[in-house]
């Protein structure tokens, strides 16, 4: 399903994000005295370009340190990018005034990974879900009960749970409350950051089904972040693979899983334990995942790449359009 309209709903242009561990006063003094202490910089995101169209689900896959969570948080407005622009329905977010900014912020919601810390332990469920709609005038406080009675069953929660506290629920139920909280403001875009990773397989299936049902019903677009490729394959229309802050491959789900092009994607797919393979002789990718403080030169993946060439060490590969809707960042193409 590819609802391509003229403008993408969300567009990220040249987004970079650096986390700098600033020197404290002692370190500053020491460095003035001539010792070389430099600030530690993590290049969490490096020149990201991304488009998400109305109603699309774009899956983002990659391992820890690839920057996918940072990317999700930047899209959701929880983090500010160090460089680059974000466009929402064509409008540069920085150019909006305060009121418009707030309206846009409500349209982009986020659901987090840890069901145990993403709900305020001291608020009742009715307050958790109902706070934002009331504050933003979506509903009146007198309408809250009715609103919850409609919304909660859609998320698989009994309306009688309204007056309970988060600690009285299981992980899966808390995740449902988090989902209800996001849906309560009628967003057009939801960032899902590893929302099922902390859940058991059987609950995971329930939550994923609910997500797909909601998507059909409400029509929101989504950025679905996960390290689990089989989950990504199941829910996404398009998939983006990230490695150490860069997008290395982008394609429709079908194309990507049928024929991965980037060596990292290929290695990743090889490594997934498949159900059918028994008594596997595990053969991991050689080498360690590089530290984000010291990314390798040129192509970040070159130290572990089985197909590396001389140029891979020296130059960062350009993003190449291989086909319609297919991008690869690799010197092989």
């Amino acid at each position: 399903m590819n609802g391509k309209v003229d403008k993408p709903m969300i567009e990220l242009c040249n987004i970079s994000k650096r986390f700098i561990k600033k020197l404290d006063i002692v370190a500053k003094m020491v460095s003035k005295l001539g010792f070389s202490i430099s600030e530690e910089v993590v290049h969490a995101l490096d020149n990201i370009n991304l488009k998400v169209y109305k109603g699309e689900v774009v899956g983002i896959a990659g391992e820890s340190g690839c920057g996918k969570s940072t990317l999700g948080r930047i899209v959701a407005g929880v983090l500010e990018p160090s460089e680059g622009k974000i466009f929402y329905n064509g409008h540069d977010l920085k150019s909006l005034d305060q009121n418009e900014s707030k309206r846009v912020a409500i349209q982009i919601q986020m659901i987090f990974q840890d069901p145990f810390s993403s709900l305020n332990p001291r608020m009742k469920v009715r307050e958790i879900i109902g706070e934002a709609p009331i504050v933003h005038g979506i509903i009146k406080s007198t309408e809250l009960d009715q609103y919850l009675n409609n919304l909660m069953p859609i998320c698989g929660l009994k309306p009688s749970y309204k007056n309970r506290y988060p600690h009285q629920f299981s992980g899966g139920q808390r995740q449902r409350i988090a989902i209800a909280r996001s849906l309560a403001v009628n967003p057009e875009f939801i960032v899902c950051d590893e929302v099922v990773s902390a859940l058991d397989v059987s609950i995971q299936a329930q939550i994923l089904n609910m997500f797909m049902e909601h998507r059909r019903k409400f029509g929101f677009a989504s950025l679905f972040i996960s390290h689990d490729l089989s989950v990504i394959e199941h829910v996404s229309d398009r998939v983006i693979i990230m490695y150490l802050g860069r997008i290395v491959e982008e394609a429709t789900t079908e194309n990507l899983f049928k024929r991965p092009l980037h060596p990292y994607t290929q290695a990743l797919f090889d490594e997934i334990p498949s159900f059918k393979k028994r008594h596997i002789n595990f053969s991991p990718i050689k080498g360690e995942v590089p530290s984000p403080f010291l990314p390798p030169s040129g192509c970040h993946f070159h130290p572990r790449c089985s197909k590396k060439m001389e140029i891979c060490r020296k130059e960062e590969p350009k993003t190449i359009i291989v086909d319609t809707d297919r991008l690869v960042k690799c010197h092989l193409f």
Binding site: S170, G172, S202, Q206, N209, L268, E271, H279, F282, I285
Partner: protein
């Protein structure tokens, strides 16, 4: 030393927790056997009791938890009847444990070499120098480069995957006959997981160590294990070789679990899921614990099912096992 014919038999293990909320039957009559060189996968979701089983075998269950019944036989001794002192001798030397969080095995304020030497000296009578060289050797065996330098590091200077490998190295130091691994790769990325699985597999085949791999991830068990036991609400509900259990599952829970893996479903279609939630262990329904979620339940299920063996070397605890079909989908 290569182990060939050691056995650890767990028979009728019951571990209960006396909590404020009531009596929690975390492990309710669990029996299995670990053998040298073989890998048993213990599969279950949260609340199934799989972790407590591992802890019970190691003797790490603290009040309000108590091992209430059962035997754990190793070398003709019942481990559960050992005194604390004897247990300490047994633990670490004959059987070791790896946890989900490597920091449970590592002391954050001690260097790696200190910890490893300490472990070695606790069970063997060797010199400091010999211990250090064994420690370096152990690190090489789990694939950590530059072991001499790494020995002098602290745990926080390693990445998550490497810490787990150090934890494995420590577990292997005294050549245990058996290792219990409690979800060691759950919080770890796929590529690092593969590295760890590779190391473990290599060690088990080289040294003949028997392994109990506790996890909720069926796909890892599929690739790694020889035998599988599926736990639900404190009991083992199905047990057999990995081919039998995964290709021809008998218990409706196992079937449901296998079917709900995304890889087994068509893209874009709703996943097969098991309806409902796992029961609270304080408030178990009478009869079969899976009854309320089972599509095949009927009046018979009000009685707790016993173990039966409908297929050779394939046990199940169910009144309506799937004996008719030849596999999943």
């Amino acid at each position: 030393m290569i182990f060939t014919d050691k056995e650890l038999v767990v028979d009728g293990l019951k571990t209960y927790f006396d909590t404020r909320a009531g009596l929690v039957k975390a492990v309710d009559e669990v029996s299995f056997k670990l053998s040298s060189g073989k890998i048993l996968g213990l599969v279950g979701e949260s609340g199934s009791g799989k972790s407590v089983t591992g802890l019970s075998v190691m003797g790490l269950v603290d009040p309000p938890g108590f091992v209430v019944d059962g035997k754990i036989i190793y070398q003709n001794e019942d481990i559960l009847s050992l005194t604390d002192k004897e247990l300490r001798r047994f633990r670490g030397a004959h059987i070791a444990m790896i946890f989900q969080d490597a920091m449970m095995s590592l002391n954050p304020v001690l260097r790696i070499d200190t910890q490893m030497v300490e472990t070695l000296k606790a069970h063997q009578n060797i010199s400091h120098r010999a211990a250090l060289s064994q420690a370096a050797e152990a690190l090489t065996q789990v694939g950590i480069p530059d072991p001499q330098r790494r020995l002098k590091s602290y745990p926080h200077q390693f990445s998550g995957g490497m810490r787990q490998r150090v934890a494995i190295a420590i577990a292997m130091l005294n050549d245990p006959a058996f290792i219990i691994a409690d979800e060691p790769t759950t919080a770890i990325d796929v590529t690092i997981q593969t590295q760890i699985l590779y190391e473990i597999q290599k060690l088990c085949s080289q040294k003949g160590t028997g392994l109990l791999w506790i996890t909720h991830d069926l796909t890892v068990v599929a690739g790694l294990a020889d035998e599988v036991a599926v736990m639900y609400a404190g009991k083992i509900v199905e047990q057999g070789s990995v081919d039998n259990v995964l290709d021809r599952p008998l218990h409706p829970y196992t079937t449901g679990l296998i079917k709900s893996v995304p890889a087994h479903n068509r893209r874009g279609q709703p996943l097969n899921s098991i309806q409902g939630m796992a029961p609270s262990l304080v408030d178990l329904p009478p009869g079969c614990s899976f009854r309320e979620r089972c599509p095949r339940a009927n009046g018979l299920c009000l009685e707790d099912p016993m173990f039966s063996t409908p297929l050779p070397e394939h046990n199940v605890r169910c009144h309506h096992p799937h004996t008719e079909h030849g596999g999943v989908e």
